[in-house]
Symmetry: C2
Subunit: 246 residues, 2 copies
């Protein structure tokens, strides 16, 4: 039995998220069907990140086990022929049989894209959150500094999430000003449900003057979802990469 690790890119627009579910098009569902068609055997994926509906990925990761003789590196080329153009397996290779894409993850990187201007430009409408008024990036950057580090991120986690330990470490949280576009880039050892979108929504509110950068420590300490900002829309979010110890 071989364990195959795949790196997967997708445009999340058409999908009800990663996780397989009945009566809905999901990335995991479409990919499972494509692999089963290719290998002529049932395939069970273990994904690294269950992205939500409308969230995009440049490098999500999933594994599956197979005894099929196809060389591991060839699987990406072969399965892409069975996939729609909005999902691509960009790499496939064999890993140790006990490799686990969630538990062995070393760090993850997400970006949240915001476009600013009077109107949302058509070519960016599906890949960025549009704001008519541009937030103050210096204020967002000042707030971001407080979010970096190890904290209990209960305030930045959707309520009802059945995870006990809500301590996560954010290695870096940067806010990049590209004139008509703002890109929030966050690297951490793990993320709670909706955590990046709540961080993005909170930074946006700081940038618009609805909250202050100095409010962030108290928001974290409160361990109360109500204290943080809105959950920013899914389409602005993209999972960039997942790193593993090699």
């Amino acid at each position: 039995m071989k364990r195959i690790k795949m790196t997967i890119a997708y445009d999340g627009t058409r999908y009800s998220g990663w996780q397989i579910q009945p009566n809905a098009a999901t990335v995991e569902g479409v990919l499972t069907d494509a692999l089963s068609s290719l290998l002529h055997e049932p395939v069970a994926l273990i994904g690294a990140s269950r992205t939500d509906a409308g969230v995009h990925a440049l490098g999500n990761v999933a594994v599956f086990d197979t005894e099929h003789p196809i060389p591991a590196e060839k699987i990406s080329y072969a399965v892409n022929a069975y996939l729609p153009e909005d999902i691509r397996v960009v790499e496939s290779r064999q890993v140790a049989g006990d490799f686990h894409p969630r538990y062995d993850c070393h760090s993850k990187c997400y970006e949240y894209h915001i476009t600013c201007g009077e109107f949302a430009m058509p070519m960016e409408r599906l890949y960025a959150h549009h704001l008519r008024k541009k937030p103050d990036v210096a204020r967002m950057q000042a707030a971001a500094v407080y979010v970096e580090g190890s904290h209990d991120f209960t305030s930045f986690c959707q309520t009802g999430t059945p995870v006990r330990d809500k301590v996560r470490t954010i290695y870096s949280l940067t806010v990049c000003d590209r004139e008509q576009e703002i890109v929030i880039r966050v690297v951490g050892n793990g993320f709670l449900y909706n955590m990046v979108r709540i961080i993005a929504g909170t930074l946006i509110q700081v940038g618009l003057g609805e909250k202050n950068p100095e409010d962030i420590p108290a928001i974290i300490e409160a361990m109360d979802r109500q204290k943080a900002g809105h959950t920013a829309p899914a389409k602005g979010l993209r999972l960039c990469y997942i790193r593993y110890e090699d």
Copy 2:
């Protein structure tokens, strides 16, 4: 009677090009219907550039005449409510009654986007031409120099185009290397049918070693469409802006 000039952005993916035609969704058709609904009167557009099916625009231009009392600057805001999200009127203003978006055009800028890599990334699949092998950008740049200037561009015009004078001036043709992406940017006083796509296709073939940069002068002089390269796919092309004397 007022003449209204609109600047229009669109994602061309869903449309059979700019020009209105029966039984097909076109940008001009959808925009005409939206303006007619807004103003409660028939509207006849004069467009600056009849982009092909799948070609995108950040700033195409069109005018129409109306006696409606709505302030010209308000039309963009109002008509966008009647438009799908893949078409936006990004500016509207009154111009002189004899302003003509084609004849008064001073310069136009197009970009042709190429992505390179083993697989076409899903989020770029509709907005760039994908090549597995990356062309040599230095060779493309060397070829581009020969294309700049005033020439009879018959070799770079789709055959059968009923235009007599095929002399056009290209003010600048640059090839920008962004690692995984190559952007060809061209500014000129006017373009023949498919001219930018044929220039792009020819530069790509030069970059891939199928033609040489020094071949370009002879290709131009031949005044023969057969001598130039392929017509590159529509989706890589975007009309960036159209300039007018002010």
